[in-house]
Symmetry: D2
Subunit: 309 residues, 4 copies
């Protein structure tokens, strides 16, 4: 695997051409107005290699809503704090059912299956909220440190809209509360949680922010070891087995990289010791993952012949 | 990642010492007499590298019952035949529930979640049985070709015992039949299926037989390309996301290799382009995976610092 | 409640006219040829009062397939034998899900919710099969005794067809076997079970055979106390809460009588101390109950102003 | 069935003696302090016949917390208003699972199985809250009208405690909200709902308030037809099939009367056209129904030989 010989620029340009036929086959998220009004034909892609090269194509520097990709960064933040209290409260197994199902949560007594489904991410945020009265600001600061972009901030309109229609998340949080697995008052917790989901970011920001998973826990942007090498590997394992809701197996099968997606249309993926890659395109498949983004990543690992398998 | 610098012999010897405290903490499978009478303190481990070196320790050449690891080889056999009919009939997602649950199978209309749970493996065997009246012999021949060991054969006593107590598997097969997803008469199908599970093998056989997943579909033992490079990658992805029942996430987290386990106490794992490793120890954890075997593999990836992540 | 003042003959004639618009809105059972070929527009109804009067209309003396109504008579037979062993093996609660669901059976460790769902009835037949090598003949003899009709016999063609396509029932039986709740070899058990379901009967036979539930356990046809008065009451309670699969609440709400239905299109209902009523019409609603039969019984309790509520 | 010949006074006295051995075998509800501190050995029973006679024994005039029995009276109130909008929003089938399970509610898209489980009762209260800004007062007024006791009022301490620990109910309500089946803001709705559950009442009050179900919709206390005769019958049918959570079948089997229970230890039951009977004893069985109360009602129907079966 010699990265030097790969023409990333050319590959990104090719992908941009080749995904063209996949637009218009599905729809962007429409449960809140701010997401519904994003043009469906947006497409951006950014790569950053372990040796610091960066490649972009299309709308790679345009901001979009991070949504569930924030679950990755709050988990990194908690583990970076050396907080091992998380594992009795959140599992590490794929959920095997739709991403917001209450069934499994009830059956398993309020312990979410993993930190990348909504219930699990709410517990992760609960841990951060329990450590600081100012959790919301700290979450933003942590992401800015990793991305190096001080402009990343929550879109307050999005945050409010999400909170107003977040009945399923409220059901999840209340159910976990009934099992004693949420400690912060729910209204306060959701102030933090929905602001974290409403963070705006670009593909390039994401590719930079994910570098600790490429570099054994080291962030070249912050020039800081933000977690242990062991934790970086573990998060990659969790991403591969749990990062894409109910499409995790298919994604591993077709793309073969640890990755996290969000309903804003973003997906970020990494090949440890090699590169991170982020893609954005708002139209979603039936699992809530970017449809064109998934195709782009499949093309990317096919063209580079690089995957963990 | 330079394999040459790794002292595999020394590492295997170390592991053999270090797993000593883990014996006696759990029990071997006891649902059929032939499995229950295997001594619990057996331990063997074998490694084969991409460049053909082999390393063994302990009982690595002793035969045991392959059990569910056979699911891996029947899947390789079907895909090697170029048979893509499998995917409409079997999913590629982790099950998220216990390995023999009927619930999900009913909910999903007789389509098993993946080829590594019992229901999925029964469909894979049904495909082989549909292609040949002599499927049982062909399955054995295929495994012998990959392992290079003509002594691998079904233990008929085990096969009969399993068939006699296989009520849950009969429930699964009948349920799939009711949805039209089994084509072979069930009694005939189970003659094949339980003989495949009763195959005897050693760690060294397993390490050799798994080499196509290391070498892009090429078997150095058979000196033959037994499947495409693409299919080899895909099977590795499936193993990582679905190969260890309800412990797939924890195993990825602690070991970080695509792997398949069986209740006979065997586990085989691979690092693509590097090595295969097989371990055997009969005492099982609560998920039906070898307890000591899991610890041994965790030590192995820690000591070698080699995993896919 | 004075039965003498009710013009049962007139009411039955009225109902026959009034159900006319309900034909052709649904379809008869079609999973086996013998049931599919019964004309959909058949309609018969029979009433027998506690004082021995009988009233019939339409095809009330024509034979049809008893199907699941046989579950009522095997339960009566087991309880009449004084066999209380049944209750640890079968529950007494409504199932709350579709009539042949495996989910609940797995969750509740092989104990069916009640004797009127398939799994529960299979256990009841297993009890009878465990008491006699000639259970099939005894089941027929018992029904003949209650109906007074020596012509009631299994339709062997129906029995064979059902056995051939009975995959779901085989799944249920195997699952219960895996929990130790079936004792007869499954093939033998199904010989008995499917012959009991294939019994032919008429509305008039059914109305007569159900009289022990009207007369405190006494059969006026056999002139014999076939069960205790207490057991007769208890069976009525079970019928009301569990007799119509997933439509038990709606049926209690609209008809208000303990009743049992079958996919042959028959329904038999009783008002304790007053009368039994049987109806037959082959077109089924989505719960597998006779659509026109249900309408007829609703009209019957409305017109007579007689129900248990 | 001649009520005149029954010595209700004597029977109630006998029951009071005979239930003595059943005390101390279980515990009262303890999830809120106000319920936990009620002495476990309380016992009262009241009967009111269709001809206006009343019989009491023990603590029949002492107040306790109505809890889930309020679900019966809010349903009566909604149906009495002629509001048929309820049925598309609430089912009429037994739930077949524990009384506060979210699983079924999710599977069935936010439509609760019946009005007597928590989710269903919350929808009923939502209907009342949608008709009046002063729903809480109207619910109390309605119950006072039926019981004739102006002292019936919510225990505000109980109402507040319940709201504070009502996470599961909040999960249910939020889940139904996500399916569009709750229209009132949840905080407002729960102000009404928990006050209705906190109503204090006595056995005698309950026996009087249930009379419309005995008298074809007529309340002899209010001297008013509070619902149609048809609705009274239908509610009785719903009570029999759905009134006692997951013990509905066993209760029908052993007692044989339409009934509703609450975790305050009360149970009210009716025999249409004959009598109502209320019992109170705080120790609960594992289904959340009064243990001694259930025994008392079983003795009552055995001694009077009166049940609907």
């Amino acid at each position: 695997m010699t990265l030097d010989t790969i023409d990333f620029s050319g590959i990104l340009e090719e992908i941009k051409e080749e995904v063209f036929p996949f637009f218009g086959k599905s729809k962007q998220a429409d449960y809140i107005p701010a997401l519904a009004k994003v043009p469906g034909d947006k497409f951006g892609m950014a790569v950053r290699t372990v040796d610091g090269q960066e490649f972009v194509v299309g709308d790679a520097k345009e901001d979009f809503s991070i949504q569930s990709i924030s679950k990755l960064f709050t988990l990194m933040q908690v583990l970076g704090l050396g907080d091992e209290d998380i594992w009795p409260r959140v599992g590490r197994e794929p959920s095997g059912t739709a991403f917001n199902s209450l069934v499994q949560l009830e059956y398993e007594q309020g312990i979410p299956r993993n930190p990348f489904i909504n219930a699990g991410a709410i517990v992760v945020t609960d841990i951060l909220a329990g450590r600081s009265a100012d959790a919301s600001r700290r979450i933003v600061d942590y992401y800015r440190m990793l991305s190096g972009n001080e402009e990343n901030r929550p879109d307050e309109e999005v945050a409010i809209s999400e909170k107003e229609c977040g009945y399923r998340n409220a059901a999840l949080a209340n159910l976990m509360c009934s099992f004693g697995n949420i400690h912060t008052p729910i209204a306060d917790l959701f102030d933090v949680y929905f602001r974290q989901c409403a963070l705006t970011t670009s593909c390039l920001d994401l590719a930079r922010a994910a570098m600790p998973l490429v570099c054994g826990g080291y962030s070249p942007i912050a020039d800081e070891q933000v977690m242990t090498s062991r934790d970086a590997k573990r998060i990659n394992a969790l991403l591969l087995t749990c990062g894409l809701y109910d499409a995790v197996g298919s994604f591993a099968y077709t793309v073969g990289l640890p990755a996290k997606s969000g309903v804003g249309g973003g997906i970020v993926a990494v090949l440890p010791k090699a590169f991170s890659v982020a893609v954005w395109s708002p139209e979603l498949d039936r699992y809530g993952n970017s449809f064109v983004g998934g195709k782009a990543l499949e093309l990317f690992t096919t063209k580079t012949d690089l995957s963990i398998f």
